[in-house]
Every structure is written in C-alpha cells, then in structure tokens.
C-alpha cells in the first residue's frame, strides 16, 4: 500500500492552481495559432493574434491569462491501493486551493452561499471535487479553473430517444448561439450524452476539460465530434462574437449508458482560456 501525505496533496493543488491560471496549455496555444492561419475574418485573425500574445504575457509575467480564475474544479483519480495519511483528503484539496489562489495573486471568486448574503470566502475555497476510485496506488489530480462567463451558458436537456442525433445537434447549436460572445469564443464545447441528469452534466464537464487534440475513442462519437465542430463554425459567431469561422476550437463528447426512455444532453462550454494542469502522486 502506497502512502500519500495530505500535505503533498495540498502543495500539489496549490502549484496546479497557479500553473493552470497563468500558463495556457500548449495544445490550446497551438489550436489558436492554427485557427489564426485559417480564419477568413480580419477582425477574427486580429483577436486570435491578441489571444496568443495574451497567453505569452501571462506566462512571462506569472499573471493570470484571464482575471476570472474561476472556481477550482478538481478531478481526482485515487488508486484504491493508495493510503492517505496526515489529514483529510478533501480538506487537503481545499487548503491547496486556498494557498494557490492567495500566493498566486489569483482572483477570489467564490461566495459561501448562493442566494442571500453571497459573502466572498476570501480565498476561493472550497474546491469542486470530482473523485473517482480507480485501480492502482497513485493519485492523479487535474485542476481545471472554470470562469463564469462560459459556465453560465451551460445547457442541460432531457431529450427523448426519438429526438435522436438531430436533437443533439440542435441542443449544441442552441448552447453555442445563446452564449455568443459572452462565453469568450473560440470555445471548447463539452458535450455529455446519456446517463441521467447529473451524469450527463458531469460527462459534459469532463469533455470540456479534456486535452485539445484528444478524440473520443469510439469512432462514431469521434466522427460526431468533428461534425459538431463544423456545425458550430458555421454559426458565423467567430472570435469574440465579432464574426468569423472560428467559433469553436474543438467539440469533445463524453457519454454514458442511459435509460430506454431517455437521451440526456448536457453542454458545458469552455472559453478559449481552456485552462488545466495535472499531476500524478
């Protein structure tokens, strides 16, 4: 049995928070530069160039790519043969978020309660934790800060089987068109299909946080990712909604088994600041 110390988890989460917020993944920067070379709209090309410059400045100056450094979403895969000592697993993650957001000069955007007082917690804790128990003895952590501009434009529809593929296309299109410039296109569109209400939403979130350039392993879903990307880029929304053919950099799909009477579809939009950082302990 491998021993993992809670303090190591805290230190790692703090480091990942700063890394994710200040350093745009290379795959996203490559996608922006590819898009810039193919974008027919002059205003669109200009914006794509500015976004690349922004990423370079952020990285060089250890400044956040975007001021909305989001809620800290942590995907944790814990090997069932690992043993955590020296503190609570979840508390260690929350503490890591606290330290990372304070030490990294990241914005504190978390309010403690949603409706009445909405008091800022002051340190961006608590994190949102999605834990999966997996074989092995390692702990894999992936931190994906998620801002509100794109998150607020999420969409969930409980379609029925008769709605089928066309219903999925319409739902994705509705999400992207309703969001328009508010979600800071070019987007990474996460689509969750199947499961039930909450599984579809979580599939969409996992899809939005996937590495750019990754494909769904199932060939039909991989083909659908391509088809939906083409569809999104026909909307004309373009970079920042000012017109163009680069509305999305990618569409990612994650799916799950579902009920004979259901076809849940969730869409979670990620902005061009498709930030994440990972570590294995």
């Amino acid at each position: 049995m491998r021993v993992i110390h809670a303090q190591t988890i805290t230190d790692t989460v703090a480091r990942l928070a700063i890394e994710a917020c200040c350093h745009l993944p290379l795959s996203v920067r490559d996608a922006l530069s590819r898009a810039a070379s193919q974008e027919p709209s002059p205003a669109g090309r200009e914006i794509l160039a500015q976004l690349q410059e922004n990423a370079s400045i952020a990285s060089a100056e250890h400044m956040p790519i975007c001021q909305d450094t989001g809620l800290a979403v942590v995907f944790a895969e814990l090997g069932q043969d690992a043993h955590i000592v020296g503190g609570d697993f979840e508390a260690a993650i929350h503490e890591g978020v606290r330290q990372g957001y304070v030490q990294g000069y990241l914005r504190k955007s978390c309010v403690a309660e949603p409706l009445f007082e909405r008091t800022n917690t002051g340190d961006n804790s608590p994190a949102i934790i999605h834990l999966r128990l997996v074989p092995g003895d390692r702990l894999h952590l992936r931190l994906a800060p998620k801002g509100a501009g794109s998150e607020n434009k999420s969409l969930l529809k409980m379609l029925t089987p008769a709605d089928g593929l066309d219903g999925v296309r319409q739902t994705v299109l509705e999400a992207v068109q309703t969001a328009g410039p508010s979600a800071c296109p070019p987007l990474v569109v996460g689509v969750g299909l199947g499961g039930n209400m909450e599984v579809a939403a979580l599939c969409a979130k996992r899809a939005a946080a996937r590495d750019l350039g990754s494909r769904n392993p199932h060939p039909r879903y991989a083909a659908l990712e391509e088809e939906l990307l083409t569809l999104c880029n026909k909307t004309g929304i373009g970079p920042q909604g000012l017109g163009g053919r680069t509305t999305a950099l990618a569409v990612h799909i994650e799916w799950a088994a579902t009920h004979i009477a259901m076809l849940p579809v969730a869409v979670n939009l990620n902005c061009h600041a498709a930030r994440h950082a990972s570590a294995s302990l």
Binding site: A58, M63, C66, Y105, L173, G236, G238, G241, L242, C271
Partner: protein, 186 residues
Amino acid sequence: MQPAARQLCVPFDAATARSLRAGEQVLLSGTILAARDAAHKRMVETLEQGESLPFSLAGAIIYYLGPSPARPGQVIGAAGPTTAGRMDPYTPCLLAHGLRGMIGKGYRSAAVAAAIREYGAPYLAAVGGAGALLSRCIKHYTVLAYPELGPEAVAALAVENFPAIVVMDVHGGDWYRTGQAPYCEL
C-alpha cells in the same frame, strides 16, 4: 489590413458618443470606472432610495471589470471584461442617471438596446479573456467606493490606448449582428 483604430479620450462628450459607429475600432485614453455585479446592485438600490452615489455617474464610462489582484509592483492584475448581460437589469437606471458608455463583452437585452439609443450611450466590447494583455493599458487603479466588495469594488482606472470595438452605437447599429452575418452558413 484593418483600418487604423480611432484615438478617443475618455470620458467622451455626448457629441462624440453620437459619432461612434458599430464596428469602429477605438483606443481609449483617460479615465473610466470599473464596476460589476455587486456594485451595480448597490448603485441602483442607492439611486432608487433617492440617495446620491459616492462618485459621479454623469458622463462616466463603466468598464465591467473585476480584476485579479496586483502582484507587488504591478498596477493591477489581469483585467479583461466580464459579461455585460448580467448588468442588463441595472443598466437603464444608470443610463438615466447620466452614464455615457459601457465596456464589456456579450449580447445585451432589448431594454438595454433601447436605452442605449434613448440616452445616447454606446456599448463597446473589449477582448474577453485577454486580461494580461489589457492590464498593460491600465496605468492607475484607485478604489472609489465599496472597498468591502474586494474585486467588485468601484474603481477609477487611468487607461492609455485601451483597445475596444464599438458594438452597439446610439443609432441602433449592432456589430455582433452585422459582423457575424457574412460568416453565417446556417
């Protein structure tokens, strides 16, 4: 090649506001206010009670912004626009109290579009998510009111060559619509 951006002093007067056209690129220099969700709620609550604000809205331009904290030696952290639509319920009231322009990102409601025409106050967009780049155009950041709101406090920003594009002009022009139309293939 894009046409050169128009240099503009902020805040601008009513005649300048009327002269701006949807799609025009501008570089703003001068002073603007930063305010977002919580500050908007407070401003409107104060005005509706017949009280005055601790700063003047007359002729002012509000940038929908909640920056990340400055590191020691920096003026401000990342400082890109936030979604303007969340301010829609408060905007007509502020325009009625003299606000002359807004900078943000995203679509506005029909009520705001009407108020933009009625009060002659255009809506401009800055590049969302380019917070590090835009921070370079901000030379001073001074909190004016509601410091307890942290990143949501109202602040005065001294800006130099701050890039923006006129999205909704006071004549009904809407660049989101016009700019997207040639590329829409649906």
